[in-house]
């Protein structure tokens, strides 16, 4: 059952931070400006990676840019994010990353030791993820024209056999799996900026998820309908996009969604919703009910997947929306993120 996206036109007069936050504004920019001008009049919903055919061989290809500040934070740095982010984009589209190319835009005045630290981190992350860095490019811009460094990566990978993911293959009754606790990365970055004067034992969850995806494919491949890594905009945004793309509804059980205490505490203090916070080491999978047990089992037995949970299910209604239930019978709709998550006091 397909719901065609309404024709969106991008009417904003200028680009705002919200357009990069991963929520509704980002969606409008991509669908309303980039897609009509650049992408084929393809009827496929926009995904993390593209699958292309070259002389009969199917490959997955993706690109991503990394503009995080601060560059280093508990649990990682921009170098790791760049590698893992691209490996994960490919993984959740059903592909194992083989090679990356990397570009650096560097700000004049950047101390060499900082650059070196990031390049080393990138090398280590690539090694850990089993991916080759095949080449790249570097540019330097004037002081003040880049926030120390911007990194772009493009990755290419082989399709994992047995996986055929498409939102449209989802059916009511499918289980929604989450690989682990959410909110770690976004809150770590927020705290690392130091503006909010909060401390917590938290670190970014950045890691490659390809191992978990491959375990899932092996145990439940034919039943895996759709996957996504909930980066900016969080689980709520990813699932809203899914619901829209398949024209079905998502029902989440709030108390089943794993959230670490410190993330919960920070979100309480700041008035944020963990469902909207970015993650860099988790993924969502929609799995046919007959494969759900095997899928969860496979994840939980794989290193790094112990905290995987079934957090909800696909339903016919409410179509194109995400409904979350509280532990005492109340429900609420959770939308895509609007703009950046801003701390509130009211």
């Amino acid at each position: 059952m397909v719901v065609a996206s309404p024709r969106i036109r991008f009417r904003d007069a200028q680009i705002e931070m919200a357009h990069g936050a991963g929520g509704t504004a980002s969606r409008r920019l991509i669908e309303g400006l980039f897609a009509p001008l650049l992408f084929d009049s393809s009827t496929e919903p926009l995904g993390d990676s593209a699958h292309i055919s070259i002389n009969g061989t199917r490959l997955a290809i993706t690109a991503d840019s990394f503009v995080v500040s601060p560059l280093r934070f508990p649990g990682g740095s921009i170098g790791e994010l760049a590698v893992n982010g691209t490996v994960n984009d490919l993984a959740v589209s059903g592909a194992r990353a083989e090679a990356l190319v990397v570009t650096y835009v560097l700000e004049a005045g950047l101390p060499t030791e900082i650059l070196e630290a990031e390049v080393r981190a990138m090398g280590r992350a690539a090694h850990a993820a089993g991916v080759t860095i095949a080449g790249g490019d570097t540019k330097v811009v004037e002081h003040g024209k880049a926030d120390r460094m911007y990194i772009t990566t493009a990755g290419v990978g082989r399709l994992i056999p047995g996986l055929q993911c498409s939102a449209r293959s989802a059916r009511p009754g499918d289980a929604i799996l989450l690989s682990g606790p959410i909110g770690d990365h976004g809150i770590t970055i927020l705290l690392a900026r130091g503006e909010l004067d909060l401390e917590a034992d938290l670190s970014s969850d950045t890691r490659p998820v390809i191992g978990l995806v491959e375990a899932l494919a092996e145990a439940a491949g034919p039943g895996v309908r759709w996957m996504r890594d909930p980066t900016r905009g969080g689980v709520a945004t990813a699932l809203n996009e899914f619901a829209r793309d398949c024209g079905l509804g998502v029902f989440l059980c709030e108390e089943r969604v794993p959230v670490r205490d410190a993330v919960r505490g920070a979100c309480e203090l700041l008035g944020l919703d963990p469902l909207h916070i970015a993650n860099e080491g988790q993924f969502l999978a929609v799995v046919a009910p007959e494969y759900a047990d095997a899928a969860l089992d496979a994840l939980q037995r794989t290193p790094g997947g112990r905290e995987a949970r079934v957090i909800g299910e696909v339903r016919a209604q409410p179509a194109c929306a995400v409904l979350v239930s509280t532990s005492y019978g109340g429900t609420r709709i959770v939308d895509m993120l609007v703009g950046d998550p801003l701390p509130r006091i009211c």
Partner: protein, 373 residues
């Protein structure tokens, strides 16, 4: 105790919900106003409406300090940052509120130095850390937040920090409640009283509501159990034909308020003779300004501000929604010209504004085909 988890206990919540059903007279339609925006938000977030019988209607009141701020004041605040070297600091809640020429975030995108702070103390910290720049703190909030602003100013004065000023938009809750009760279109049976404002002002200031207006008022906490228990307490009063002030939030709210907080407020602030509330017009003695002892830190004296009154577009019915006369969906702009992404009025921007809450939780639900029970 964890103080949050305990008051979200599912068993207790369903039991309290049952008690409400038992107490509510099925032949009667109840309208309880929750004054505080935090209650609006909690009610939606925890899906509490689903736990109340259909003949109990919760009406949202004007207790959202962002929502009641006239657009002209936002323009005034933003005009201060037009000067070189000025840092505009405010809570996250203010960042997306539209001024005539854009919200603070939009001004930031155009190059203004706009910073989010979590506390007025953080704004003062900015001033200490940037001696060559002037830091202006856009202060909003009811009596809950005013003492913190006051303490910060006392510190600024004691330390002789001159590159700091406060643009004071603190408002007080009692005149707002009075305005609601004076309004001819209102029919409210009882109030769910603001929990956190009451930690400062205590429960006595509400006595006239019970005594002279004959309405029960229960000062309530914000957890689901708190709100439900307050409804039980109101229903019990109504069953017995009583009208009293009760304190459901006893674990946090002292009956006499917080003397230290009231003292620092008295040291720093003075009552403005009148102040404009968006959608409600001018209300006398309803807002605070810095007194003469602190005029050196008063942004309104430090900067010359346009002070232009900006009226809302005719079609925007923020005022009626604020007073609970209209439901958000009844405003002509709701969901069309005015959405959380492109808000016309502040009730759509602030996360505790009725329109934003309604849009997010109710409107979206009502747009969808039936939700299974």
């Amino acid at each position: 105790m964890r103080y949050v988890d305990e008051f979200r206990e599912p068993e207790l919540i369903s039991q309290t919900s049952e008690e409400i059903r038992r107490l509510a007279d099925p032949g009667r339609h109840y309208r309880f106003m929750e004054v505080c925006g935090g209650h609006t938000h909690a009610i939606y977030r925890f899906g509490l409406k689903d736990l109340l019988p259909p003949n109990i209607e919760l009406v949202h009141g004007p207790g959202c300090p962002v929502c009641v701020l006239p657009m002209g004041r936002i323009d005034d605040g933003l005009s201060m940052v037009a000067g070189e070297g000025v840092i505009f600091s405010a809570f996250g809640d203010m960042m997306r509120v539209p001024g005539t020429h854009g919200s603070p975030l939009e001004h930031k995108a155009r190059g203004a130095d706009i910073r989010i702070v979590y506390s007025p103390a953080d704004a003062l910290k900015l001033a200490r850390a940037n001696p060559g720049r002037h830091v202006m703190f856009f202060a909003i909030g009811f009596e809950t937040t005013a003492p913190s602003t006051a303490l910060t100013l006392i510190r600024a004065k004691a330390e002789g920090i001159r590159n700091f000023s406060v643009f004071c938009n603190h408002v007080t809750i009692i005149p707002a409640i009075r305005a609601i009760l004076d309004s001819p279109d209102m029919r409210i049976d009882a109030f769910i009283g603001p929990g956190h404002v009451s930690t400062v002002i205590g429960c006595r200031p509400y006595e006239w509501i019970a005594r002279h207006e004959g309405k029960p008022i229960v000062v309530s906490g914000f957890e689901p159990l708190d709100v439900l228990q307050s409804v039980v307490m109101i229903l019990r009063q109504m069953q017995r034909g009583e009208a009293r002030v009760e304190n459901q939030y006893r674990r946090v709210v002292p009956w006499d308020g917080n003397r230290a907080a009231l003292k620092v407020m008295a040291e720093v602030f003075t009552l403005r003779s009148y102040f404009e509330w968006r959608g409600m017009g001018f209300i006398s003695q309803s807002a605070l300004a810095l007194n003469d002892e602190y005029s050196d830190w008063d942004a309104e004296k430090h900067f010359s501000i346009p002070g232009i009154r900006v009226t809302d577009p005719k079609a925007a019915q923020c005022g009626e929604v604020l007073k609970g006369v209209l439901k958000p969906a009844q405003c002509k702009l709701f969901g069309n010209e005015c959405t959380p992404e492109r808000p016309v009025g502040a009730l759509m921007v602030s996360s505790e504004g009725s329109c934003a809450a309604y849009y997010q939780y109710e409107h979206r639900k009502s747009q969808l085909v039936s939700i299974p029970a």
